[in-house]
Symmetry: none
């Protein structure tokens, strides 16, 4: 394990560098050489940790998504009422987007552009949301949540946060505590029966 620790630092430095460059310069201006330089390693070293550029992006996506869902379901248990549970998860996700701006922006980019990550990684990333899907199903059985496709539920509750985050990142808009509550209410109104 002592041997692995040192390596993991470089791995993480590479993932961070990629995250930062892809977000700020765009995928088309995030060359391996820049990633390496920003991570403080040689370009050749990247290939010790990742198969190729696509693999690097895929892994970054998967690990960022996992970190996202760790946050999303923090303090959530299935004992919570549907409404309480939903609000908890929604606010967790909102906080992630507000606090982990870079990570959130990267995930948003990957989810919106179908050429960024490969299909396998996308499918893998989807699994992370399962507890939310389960909660919605429970809410529908209990007659609290509209009996509509989870795609619609997602589109009207979680997805809008991506827009708000983007606008906030462009400094067009500030997501204060009050606005966050307004947003939550809109989300809930759109799916509650």
């Amino acid at each position: 394990m002592a041997k692995r620790t040192k390596s993991n630092e470089k791995r993480i430095a590479l993932l961070n560098a990629t995250l930062h460059l892809v977000n700020n310069n765009g995928f088309h201006d995030a060359p391996m050489s820049k990633i390496a330089k920003m991570a403080g390693v040689s370009p050749a070293t990247i290939y010790i940790y990742f198969e190729n550029k696509q693999d690097l992006i895929n892994k970054l996506y998967l690990e960022t998504k996992a970190s996202f869902s760790d946050d999303a379901f923090k303090d959530y248990t299935e004992d919570l009422s549907v409404q309480k549970g939903f609000e908890l998860i929604w606010r967790n996700i909102a906080n992630f987007k507000i606090n982990q701006v870079e990570e959130a922006a990267f995930l948003s980019q990957c989810d919106n552009i179908n050429t960024m990550i490969d299909e396998a990684s996308r499918q893998e990333g989807l699994k992370n949301l399962q507890p939310l899907l389960d909660l919605w199903e429970r809410g529908q059985k209990e007659g609290i949540i509209k009996n509509i496709s989870p795609y619609l539920l997602y589109a009207y509750t979680i997805y809008p946060l991506a827009f708000l985050m983007t606008m906030q990142k462009r400094s067009d808009f500030e997501l204060t505590e009050d606005k966050l509550t307004e947003a939550y209410n809109s989300a809930w109104n759109s799916i509650k029966i």
Copy 2:
């Protein structure tokens, strides 16, 4: 003094090729050479019609956005009641996203990635939504629509359609007439008082 005249057909072929390639291969794999080949012209010809690649993308964005708003405000006049007007515009936009899938996907990509088009083009493109913003303001004065930021109104009514379109494009989801009505209801519920 006679000369060949710039053919609008070629210009349009170039814009279409770009639209198609950026959508399907991504910006990073839509080289000028492929665009030229797909449009049936020499790479050098692109530079007769556009200053450079960025200009080509910007113009494509602006013209697609203009075509989008033509559709969005079709049959809309300010005499319509707020609710009728909103539903008309919302359904126009939904139809655009369903019928002009490529155009819609391209606009979505441009709007979500800040490195795609330049700031001037983005600002220019925003102007096209003005009638919707005016309608919302009217709705707020009439006490029909929540008194919240237009960014929130947009996030919960129009923006979700981008997600649904993306899912439909991936064949994960089919946006039938029923689902469209459900979606409209969610949109309206999220902003109505």
Copy 3:
């Protein structure tokens, strides 16, 4: 004008544009398109007046050289004594280099770089100096001028003016009347017996 003929104005405008661009941007940044624009014609028009770019450069060289020797031998007749004749020609050439800076700089460029104009044009251009060569021969017969190769005579009397002109063009050096006389004395001292 009943019939349109090749307009000499355009031909001259093209030669002037070429002169200016080659001098100021260098041969490698004097594209036909820029030449055309500066001359106020279409690129295609150049090919009505000249075979191709090389021909354009060649013709410019030849005509500039002819204009140069018109000036060089102004007021010169063979009755003049060798020394008087030499001073006249030398000062004529100096004045050309001082007053027709662009033309002189262009000729200098062509004469110094063997890839600029083709061999035939170079040979053709050489003929213009014949009266000077004749004068030197006379001077040698009369025992006034050293009995050395005309290449050496040229190298030490005329060629130095190219350097002085270049330096003056770079504003490193100003060729006043006094300095001109010093220069003439050096030239004469280097070849007189």
Copy 4:
């Protein structure tokens, strides 16, 4: 931690290839691809050793100029009398032009065309002649050399060699030992009091 090291051989091969191509084809027909091929490397490799084409040319100029002045001031010390010192330097320079034809032709091209190398490199290259300027100043103080601008001294002693070299390169003229002495005499006559 081991790695391949930058090979000076490749650097030199690139400089030599550039020298040869610029001299024989002209700057406008010395593309990076040809330079690379002639040096036996990939085009991309050039950019490991040089920033860009201009940098390659600049460096070649500077290093050739340095090699030139090494030769020019070989065996020269300030104890030598003005006349002896001048003859030594003059003959050194002449020998350089005769023996290092390619290098001399390249320097001549750079010094005559103002679009070849950038101003900084030109200024840097000028420094190499300082000992000659010092010698001339000494000669002027001692009343041996005419009290005229160093530009004039250079124009009538060193600069003519460029012409003779060019003519020799074109096989119009052969610079034998006798002719060299004639040339030296002309040079000295033009500046001595």
